[in-house]
Symmetry: C2
Subunit: 470 residues, 2 copies
Amino acid sequence: NSKKGPQNNKGSEHGKGKSGKFTLKTPKGTRDYGPVEMAVRRQVFDIIYNVFHMHGAVEIETPVFELKEVLTGKYGEDAKLIYDLEDQGGEILSLRYDLTVPFARYVAMNKISNIKRYHVARVYRRDNPAMTRGRYREFYQCDFDIAGQYDAMIPDAECVQLVHQVLLKLNLGDFIIKVNHRKILDGVFGACGVPVEKFRPICSAVDKLDKSPWEDVRKEMVDEKGLDGNVADVIGEYVKLSGKEELLEKLKNDARLKDSTDAQAGLSDLTLLYQYCKSLSCDNHLVFDMGLARGLDYYTGVIYEAVLMAGQTAKEGPVGSVAGGGRYDGLVGMFDPKKKTVPCVGVSFGIERLFAIHEQKQRADNDKLRSTQTEVFVAAACKGMIHERLKILGLLHEAGIKAESSYKNNPKILNQLQYSEDNAIPLVVLIGESEVQEGIVKLRDTATRAEVAIKREELVTVVKQRLANK
Amino acid sequence: NSKKGPQNNKGSEHGKGKSGKFTLKTPKGTRDYGPVEMAVRRQVFDIIYNVFHMHGAVEIETPVFELKEVLTGKYGEDAKLIYDLEDQGGEILSLRYDLTVPFARYVAMNKISNIKRYHVARVYRRDNPAMTRGRYREFYQCDFDIAGQYDAMIPDAECVQLVHQVLLKLNLGDFIIKVNHRKILDGVFGACGVPVEKFRPICSAVDKLDKSPWEDVRKEMVDEKGLDGNVADVIGEYVKLSGKEELLEKLKNDARLKDSTDAQAGLSDLTLLYQYCKSLSCDNHLVFDMGLARGLDYYTGVIYEAVLMAGQTAKEGPVGSVAGGGRYDGLVGMFDPKKKTVPCVGVSFGIERLFAIHEQKQRADNDKLRSTQTEVFVAAACKGMIHERLKILGLLHEAGIKAESSYKNNPKILNQLQYSEDNAIPLVVLIGESEVQEGIVKLRDTATRAEVAIKREELVTVVKQRLANK
């Protein structure tokens, strides 16, 4: 079988002809995942699922679409990117934009007071796709969240620990986990003289610091958002700061922040977070970065973002964030008729980016990425062996051994051996008329091409031994 | 943590109030999957995936929506059930209705000449949902298909073998795999005097035989589809027949079918299928059922359907089909500009029904269905132990042991032990001030409540031993 991956679909290859002929493509901003991409995806998911299970998380799944009003008023100006379904009579529906809002809807609807859940699924954004840079309109999110009224920073520290564990296990090189706190940002804004109604817009501007230089961010603050230039300059002093616990201590005594209740609350939260992370042995990649703001409006406390250091060459630019999240204590309350809320903290992995990096790494390590798990290929050395091959297949499957054979009545021997080599199938069982008569089979090692004759009744045992030693 | 499952959402519980208030529900015909449902789902998927891998299948994924024209002309009168997306400027899109048409589009678009793939994903049908009977508008399909030009019946027999293996491994009791052939049906229709243009409508009528008595089906043929009553009566003789190979032999010599090229081709295909299934040791549940027709128009050869026998009481009625499929040699060609086709055969598992039956069985076997995999709960016997608990968590996680602890600074000991029992967590590590001072921990077996003191540095080894023996 030649298992070709999907072609890159750039939308223009198969345009609609003049004759109004059929357009053979996937929708704009979407792609098929071929066998190799799926194999990579499964490896990454298995690692992440294992960490989620390590933390006792349960899994949930919600519908791909929600009532449109569930999504309304949650995403600010990004709401224009939501996909709506056609009104075909009945309810007005939209495709989910993320997994956080459906989670909050789930918690409120089922009156759940506490849950630690993960949810891995695709979300939909009618954004301008930049598919060459791995940005699609349909993409996976991989979320872990803890909902419940608990003591300060314990669940927050678990989220940091979880990101730490996932990135270590994926083994993608060095990384940092940036951490900040919305109350520190608000405290800084307040102490610098930003009017309260401008806190969120100015916060959005700060969020762009990881992609744009300070000059551009300052320009947005002053020109677009009407902030006083001097105030912007003072903010600039703070958001450039980054460090560890000593920076927290320094800021606690900062002249401007000393009297800010918000800033002091945020600073002592982060101090506690550091202590817990030390006990959990996950503090060594933690960096307090005052320029971290996170885009979404709904965060209310700790925010964090993990960044890979590898691949950050001057040419390619930074790999960017591979995970991010924070505390959002108000979102569930937006769905409760009595505004009763459930505090939440969570993290979302940028899983498409992790797939791409993992695949790159795999290809560098070993150019043969297998998309199947087949252990044995059953081959015939001569014609008329189809029933004998099927009997051996049945025997191997019965024993739990992954085995394939050709779909042809009389396949050529060279093609069968070539197929086994091309697909990295470790063992080949070879039969011919004489083998069938004598009740034996030949077992061939694909890598060394060495063959041995064994009794048919010993086949399963020998194959299992060989596979165990691979 | 109280991990409540989702409430059944019947659409009327949280109606839109007079004040136009927020509607807290999932869209009509959809549901959330809670932790227990997801745990059951994973068990079933793992079993099925294992069988797919046994056969060397690769996995693919396609977008949740397709260009509307990809779906057009594939589903006959069911096309009215397709969900369309709103025209927000750009392409006209629809949610996928099944996984077969996207697969054919994928094969044609990537000019693949052969592939054996599986695809597990949700599909969307604006049907009248009967949620109490497990019928939803959003539901999983689990498809395995073989595309490629191969020798007769070898891939078809593999599909039968795969269904056989999945149902054996799921261990849901006795089952039969009904098999028939579109050419036999066409041969019968032709020999009985059905006009060619009525072959497909009459075939659709026969398809209803598993739910309706022959009288109703005959009525549909005669009254709705304008078939001569005498012709219908002769068809009735044939579609009531079922048996094994001896029926195939009998029909080969049937006076009416003797001269039907179609019928004879279908009968010799099924004879060969029986022989291959014998070699694969999967013929013992195979039943040749002439009343099996399958709804979809695109089938061209062998068709099959698996039915569970268990639970078929007079009161509950039959469980019905849990898997079905067949050969469709023309579908890929519908997407190729030059009509070049790739023959296909495949099977789709009725996975939602399998979830439901598996869950029922699990509950009957053992009333405690776990939704987490946690192995150890780290508990404190006194106040002020939070950092000590986190250190032990870090230690256990480092060793790959799944461990949780409370999010409270000073949780009550009884609550911690109760949580461990409620969630069937097998082991509890208990620490108090004296344990910390002496460098020991207490290890408690949740089931027996027996406690032993062990040295802290031996904790990981002992826990691993205990878990291995569970």
